[in-house]
Every structure is written in structure tokens, then in C-alpha cells.
């Protein structure tokens, strides 16, 4: 499968994250693994890029996060658990509609209707 680069994904990563969170709460790590699995390994993005997108979504109120409770006494990095908010769910529906329209219009223009 041809790799999809960061430039091609620009503007879509946030929608992809919302879609990944639609299935339930997840850590950044799990979100990335879900996206990777769903794309069949075609996403050619650096994994750190996930976090700026998560923080933007959180500041817009589209997702919410909480620290995962520590399971051990050893001080170490904790993880944050993200979930989709009602606002995020509505945005996801809007993004899906826009994507269908985009694909339909471009498909017609390119002579390859969806």
C-alpha cells in the first residue's frame, strides 16, 4: 500500500483521531495503534505528531482527558486517557459529511466517481 505522508494528511489527522475515539476511551498510544491498524500501515507520520493534534482537539472541547490512575508506587510517566465529547461527536458527523461531499465532487471531476 502506498504510504500517506504528513502533508497529505494535513487537516485530516484531527478527524481521524475523533473517529478513533468514537469506539471508546483510549491513550495516545492506543489511538495511534488504532489509526495504524485501520490504515494498514499506510500512515507515514511521526508518532509525536499525534500529541499536538490531541491538545488542539482538547482545547476546542472536542475531546476530554484525564490522567490514568497510577498502578504502581514507582514514579514514572503516567498516561492520559482521552474520550470524545458530545461536541466532538457532532464535529465528527460534520467532518464525515464534508468528506463524502469532497470525495464525490473530486471523484466526478477526475472521472472516477466514488
Amino acid at each position: 500500500m502506498t504510504a500517506i505522508s504528513g502533508d497529505q494528511l494535513r487537516g485530516h489527522l484531527e478527524g481521524l483521531i475523533l473517529a478513533a475515539l468514537e469506539r471508546g476511551t483510549a491513550h495516545g498510544w492506543d489511538i495511534w495503534r488504532n489509526l495504524e491498524a485501520a490504515s494498514g500501515g499506510a500512515l507515514a507520520l511521526k508518532e509525536g505528531s499525534l500529541y499536538p493534534a490531541l491538545y488542539r482537539l482538547e482545547s476546542q472541547g472536542l475531546i476530554a482527558a484525564r490522567w490514568e490512575a497510577a498502578t504502581t508506587a514507582r514514579p514514572g510517566p503516567r498516561r492520559r486517557v482521552y474520550r470524545l465529547t458530545a461536541k466532538g461527536r457532532r464535529r465528527l458527523e460534520t467532518a464525515r459529511g464534508e468528506w463524502r461531499q469532497f470525495v464525490a465532487v473530486l471523484g466526478n471531476l477526475l472521472g472516477a466517481p466514488a
Partner: protein, 271 residues
């Protein structure tokens, strides 16, 4: 693992954001990078290779910094604009806690002395040669500002030292192997907390006394001074204990980030 922490710090340190947000970024990025390293280590069986591969998968520090900066609101970015001497505010590599507290105190003292001197000059110029009966004398104004500088200096120095004591005791409490060790550390935390609260209360009340002494209107008595100090202790001890529960998990986790040397390290492959 140091190389992973250094890479995270290379990403986060240049970002203009408040410390809470930066600490959150540090912890979350480190958690992800640690998982990446574990995965690569299981695959390759070689630590150096695993580190290089994990860093490569994670992404370039400079571009990640730029992306993360974009996720910070413009108000916060503006509020965290580096000012003159901002590099000096950070704890230096290898600097002791006491040395750091003393250095910071010297900075605050110098800035305050300049600020109060300027204020005093403005007051004296505005008053001119005439002095009304209800106005303080020049010597009273001098005593006022000198007193405030002194109280502020002592207060900040003491607070820094007591907080460092609390921080160390929190570390001891975590590391203590038995209940007795934990109990002893907890009592020391209470002691430092009480001393810190007393100092803050006394500094506040002493400031009022100094203002009182240089003002024609009296508004604080010595009895009130002691009541304020005692009140600070009574309120301060439970507050310290409550806060130490958070410090336990957060202060220890982040205490070394700012002093981590991100320059003096062999260039990391893939970073």
C-alpha cells in the same frame, strides 16, 4: 532512560507555555516514547538500536516543538514570552538546591531594591520640599522601603529553604522502607510546613508593622502581629499536608526536568 528524557526535553523546553502544560507534555510524550523504546527493544534486542529507532519513529524535536507550540493559545504564548535574564531563572546543571535558592533570592533582592528605590525617588520628588503634618518624613519613607526589602528577602529565602526541606522529606517518605520512616518524614514535613507558614505570616505582619511605623495612621498592634503569625501556622499546616500529597506524585516526577542538560549529549541517531 536518559536519552528519551533528553529528547522529550529538547521538544518541550523551547515551547512558550505555562509550566503545568509543559509538565503534562513532558510526561505524556515520555510515556509514549518509553513504550516505543520497549517495543523496539523487544524487536531488536539491542538498547542503542532500540533507542535510535524509537526516536526516529517519534519525530524530529524541532518540528515537534513547533507543532506543540501551535497547540498553545496566543494568550498563554504571550504570557510566557522570554524576558531579559530568563535563562538565569532556570536551575543550572549540577547546581545545589540551596545555591539555586540563594541565587534566585539575590535576583529578587536586586530587582526589588531597584524598584523600591525608584518608587522612593518618585515619592520624594512628588512631595518636593514641602512636608505636611499628615505625611511621613523622609527618614520614615527610607525605613519603610528598606524594611520591606529586608522582610521580603528574609521571607523568600526562608520559604525557599523550607520548601526544599519539604521536597527532600517527601523523597525520603517515598523511599522509606517501613512505617516508622514514613511517619518520621511526615512529621518533618509538618515541621517545615509550620515553619514556612509561620515565616510567611510573620513576614506579612512585619510588613504591616513597618508600614504602620512609617504612617501617621496606626492600623496594626503587636498583638495583632502575633495573631496573624499564629493564624498562618494554623492554616498552613493542614494546607502543607494536603499539598504534600500532590507534591508526592508531581514534584518528584518533574523536579529534574529543568536541570536536564539537553545540549551536552552525544547527538542521538535519528533525533
Amino acid at each position: 532512560m536518559k536519552a528519551l528524557r533528553v529528547q522529550v526535553e529538547r521538544v518541550v523546553r523551547p515551547i512558550r507555555a505555562n509550566s503545568g502544560r509543559k509538565n503534562r507534555m513532558r510526561e505524556e510524550l515520555l510515556a509514549h516514547l518509553t513504550r516505543l523504546h520497549e517495543e523496539e527493544l523487544a524487536r531488536t534486542g539491542d538498547d542503542a538500536q532500540a533507542t535510535a529507532a524509537a526516536l526516529d519513529r517519534f519525530g524530529d524535536a524541532a518540528s515537534l516543538s513547533r507543532e506543540l507550540q501551535g497547540s498553545v493559545s496566543w494568550i498563554e504564548r504571550w504570557a510566557c514570552v522570554p524576558v531579559l535574564g530568563w535563562m538565569q531563572i532556570r536551575r543550572r546543571v549540577g547546581e545545589s538546591a540551596v545555591g539555586y535558592i540563594l541565587r534566585m533570592n539575590a535576583w529578587v533582592f536586586a530587582i526589588s531594591a531597584g524598584y523600591y528605590s525608584l518608587m522612593m525617588l518618585v515619592v520624594l520628588i512628588a512631595r518636593g520640599g514641602r512636608q505636611r503634618v499628615d505625611q511621613p518624613t523622609t527618614s520614615q519613607i527610607l525605613i519603610l522601603f528598606a524594611g520591606l526589602i529586608f522582610i521580603q528577602g528574609v521571607g523568600l529565602l526562608g520559604q525557599g529553604l523550607f520548601c526544599e526541606g519539604i521536597r527532600q522529606e517527601i523523597g525520603r517518605r517515598v523511599a522509606a522502607g517501613d512505617a516508622r520512616g514514613r511517619r518520621k518524614a511526615t512529621w518533618r514535613i509538618v515541621g517545615y510546613g509550620a515553619a514556612n507558614s509561620a515565616l510567611l505570616g510573620a513576614a506579612f505582619a512585619a510588613g504591616m508593622l513597618v508600614i504602620d511605623a512609617s504612617s501617621p495612621i496606626s492600623f496594626i498592634t503587636r498583638a495583632q502581629f502575633w495573631w496573624i503569625t499564629l493564624g498562618a501556622v494554623v492554616l498552613g499546616v493542614p494546607y502543607t499536608l494536603f499539598q504534600s500529597r500532590n507534591w508526592n506524585t508531581s514534584m518528584r516526577r518533574f523536579e529534574n526536568w529543568e536541570s536536564l542538560d539537553i545540549e551536552d549529549l552525544t547527538p542521538i541517531a535519528g533525533a
